[in-house]
Point group: C2
């Protein structure tokens, strides 16, 4: 697969780029990167050998993580585009949080395969987006996901 | 918190104990351990410093992983008990896979806190269990989850 050239996570604000799933400032994380592929969003990731469920097959929690960050990244791409921006413009995009996550595991996911994670973004309202995701291993649809992503509130995390 | 003495994952079959989330034979994994607490199931886990969403708060994908393995572990505990066994009997328990996973993120989850993950198991039919889960940080309910867990089919993963 052609790697993703312009990933939204490459442009997240510096102090919001520590996510274990997708933060470029988290050296121990997965480093998920999400970009446009036409009108769909795309994250490509090959799980590490330790990301096993049972030997030979990928851990479901890793797939949930992939769908999670793909979801918030896809929502960020979509709102950024709506505001007239593309990742390569190097303008800080909006940052999203996950309100809810659903994953359906359809088939055992083989190890040692690049997983194609493809998203379709649906605007619910100006600060809330649904991201419908399919994960493919080779030609096989192995999991489906739905992320409800909300624009990160000002002062998120402060009580 | 008192650590869990008898965790179901300690007794999973040797060749099915490599899960990145909860397998005792996965040296790089999270090592989630799930046991009974009365009629509820309990997993206690303190995320690692790298498991961040944004600095100071826990990554949602880690919470999804925790709920996932807590779910399959809880279902295993429940079916094992139904068959007349407890983890400390050292009889191999049934192994489950996740059919689907739902997580609702209710509050930002602070880092550096032991998370209490509490499950209630509902039998749907003899090979399928719903596990309703709540995750607490201190007294705060930070996430709710639902895992639909199915008995691992014979020859799971072989095509």
């Amino acid at each position: 697969m052609t790697p993703i050239k312009y990933a939204i996570q490459d442009y997240y604000p510096e102090d919001l780029a520590h996510c274990f799933g997708c933060g470029r400032n988290n050296q121990l994380g997965h480093g998920f990167r999400t970009g446009w592929s036409g009108d769909e969003t795309l994250t490509i990731y090959k799980p590490e050998p330790e990301h096993t469920a049972i030997p030979g097959f990928v851990y479901g929690g890793l797939l949930a993580s992939l769908i999670d960050c793909h979801g918030t990244g896809s929502a960020s791409l979509a709102l950024h585009r709506k505001q007239g921006n593309e990742p390569e413009d190097s303008i800080e995009p909006p940052r999203f949080v996950t309100a809810s996550l659903e994953v359906k595991y359809l088939k055992p996911t083989p190890q040692n395969v690049e997983l194609l994670t493809i998203g379709q973004v649906e605007e619910v309202h100006s600060k809330k987006f649904n991201v419908h995701t399919e994960v493919y291993a080779h030609e096989d649809l192995v999991a489906k996901g739905l992320v409800v992503a909300a624009v990160m509130p000002e002062g998120f995390g402060s009580s």
